[in-house]
């Protein structure tokens, strides 16, 4: 994931909000480039370019109910972690995507056990 410093990007008129259930919005500005806006949708607070995020959006567009963008701060060493985009679906399933192009799936352990039990 490449973080673009230019936040003066103009949003295309036909751009669709990929997270309509959230206060914050995600718009595809051009291919593989996404802008994250606050509730006022005036200027994006972060713009990223990523092919992995593009693939993720093919699955999650319109299904995100919570959107957080954060940098984890390690309280043990004081170091700042990678910028992380956290996307929650209605069933509580969380996808985390970070600056190093790593995509992680966070599953609640209880839900995970129930799914495993149902499968077995």
């Amino acid at each position: 994931m490449k973080i673009l410093s230019n936040t003066n990007i103009k949003r295309p008129l036909n751009a669709v909000d990929l997270a309509p259930a959230c206060d914050a919005s995600i718009f595809e500005i051009e291919e593989f480039t996404y802008a994250f806006y606050g509730p006022k949708k005036t200027a994006p607070f972060v713009v990223i370019e990523s092919e992995i995020f593009y693939l993720l959006m093919q699955r999650l567009a319109g299904r995100i109910v919570e959107l957080n963008v954060f940098r984890p701060l390690c309280l043990c060493c004081g170091g700042t972690g990678l910028l992380t985009i956290r996307l929650t679906e209605a069933d509580g399933c969380v996808s985390q995507f970070n600056e190093a192009d790593e995509l992680e799936l966070c599953m609640d352990l209880e839900t995970l056990y129930q799914k495993r039990n149902a499968r077995n």
Binding site: C22, F70, A90, E104
Partner: protein, 202 residues
């Protein structure tokens, strides 16, 4: 954080660190030993020096919710599966404790979220109709004040029933409707064809 076995301790020594309405409870059993319980069942026991140091700085602040999470890598290098504990204080600050005993504070870059999914917030099993509900922060506070321990799914279903029985609700209309339901007045509206936002009447 190191997973361990529960040592022999006196129940009177156990200190509950989460608020009473929390579905999962974080209990401090000894100096650096913690247990996560649900309905008096022990789900996980672990030792963590980082958590002890952090709690010493936080004083008596209570934890609003805690979740046990398995993080699996879908794309990228590194460990395939990581066990984490996510927790949030009543003031909204969120922290992540990983299995290497590193404690992270989540510093939001974005605007704070205003809507919460019940499954994500309380770790409820994703099932109908709860997966179609989104709650404002005020509504979360109201539901937590109304629900006794373990009753949150029941309260949510009651709100959904009151909403679905109200005439004039249609996925084609995003109009907000005021409803007088079993647990009092509230308002709700469709955000899109599947998701309904619930808010308090005030």
């Amino acid at each position: 954080m190191r997973e361990t076995k529960l040592s022999l301790i006196k129940p009177s020594k156990i200190k509950v660190l989460t608020v009473p309405r929390s579905l999962l409870k974080l209990n401090r059993c000894a100096k650096d030993e913690y247990a996560i319980t649900k309905d008096h069942r022990v789900l996980n026991v672990f030792e963590s020096l980082s958590l002890s140091r952090h709690l010493a700085l936080e004083g008596r602040r209570k934890i609003r919710w805690i979740r046990l999470v398995e993080k699996s890598m879908q794309h990228g290098a590194g460990a395939k599966r990581i066990f984490e504990i996510h927790f949030q204080y009543c003031d909204g600050r969120m922290f992540i404790l990983d299995e290497r005993d590193r404690l992270f504070s989540v510093n939001e870059v974005s605007w704070g979220r205003s809507l919460h999914s019940p499954c994500g917030l309380w770790g409820l099993v994703p099932e109908e109709p709860i997966i179609h509900m989104l709650l404002t922060s005020r509504m979360v506070d109201l539901i937590e004040s109304q629900a006794m321990e373990g009753q949150i799914p029941h309260v949510l279903r009651t709100y959904w029933r009151d909403w679905s029985l109200t005439p004039g609700t249609s996925p084609h209309s995003t109009r907000t409707i005021n409803i007088r339901g079993e647990f009092g007045s509230f308002k709700a509206n469709y955000i899109n064809s599947k998701m309904v936002k619930f808010d308090t009447s005030r």
